[in-house]
Symmetry: C2
Subunit: 112 residues, 2 copies
């Protein structure tokens, strides 16, 4: 199997990196794989992210139709973020990433 045979492979990779790349987007998706989360839950989980950054990243993922924002209750407002049906399809990919990452840790990072 040739990855880039159609001269498209690399472009497709770039597409996907647009989604899971960056400092937080992949992490947010990983968290949401386990179920819906509220804004502040995410904020606590992703230690050290600021409100403004988190908001930006969530908006980005929304635009890509990966996640959706649902207002659960008003005043005090409660918002829940969850994967869209389409977004859920990335779960398997995230599992693969984690799996490979664990192997990589053993082989490379462990050697340091």
């Amino acid at each position: 199997m040739q990855v880039t045979s159609k001269e498209q492979g690399a472009l497709v990779v770039a597409d996907v990196l647009e989604i899971i790349g960056g400092k937080w987007r992949g992490l947010i998706l990983a968290k949401l794989c386990d179920g819906p989360k509220r804004f502040n839950e995410l904020k606590l989980d992703l230690k050290k992210v600021t409100s403004s950054t988190l908001t930006k990243e969530l908006r980005h993922l929304e635009e890509l139709k990966m996640i959706e924002r649902a207002v659960i209750q008003e005043s005090p407002i409660i918002v829940e973020y969850r994967m869209t049906t389409h977004g859920s399809s990335i779960k398997q990919l995230i599992y693969q990433i984690i799996e490979w990452g664990l192997e990589h840790r053993k082989k490379v990072i462990g050697e340091k």
Copy 2:
């Protein structure tokens, strides 16, 4: 399966993004999946990357033990970059990324 159950999943995802993230690294790896490439081959394939940027990215991947640099001939020097044994293990992951990316294109990008 809970992705982030051990509070490690997200961290692992971050590790992997360190490798395939960024504007070029994933693309370079994708190209090298198909076999060794010379510096200028990569430069031509990855249209619009400059020498200095390509060099930086290659060095980065070398440090991570994903690829290796081999001098094939001197004067005029010819250099070949190829996946290390360890680096090759990421091929499957790249296939997954491309596969998912193609689906994503159909569903989201196609709708634009």
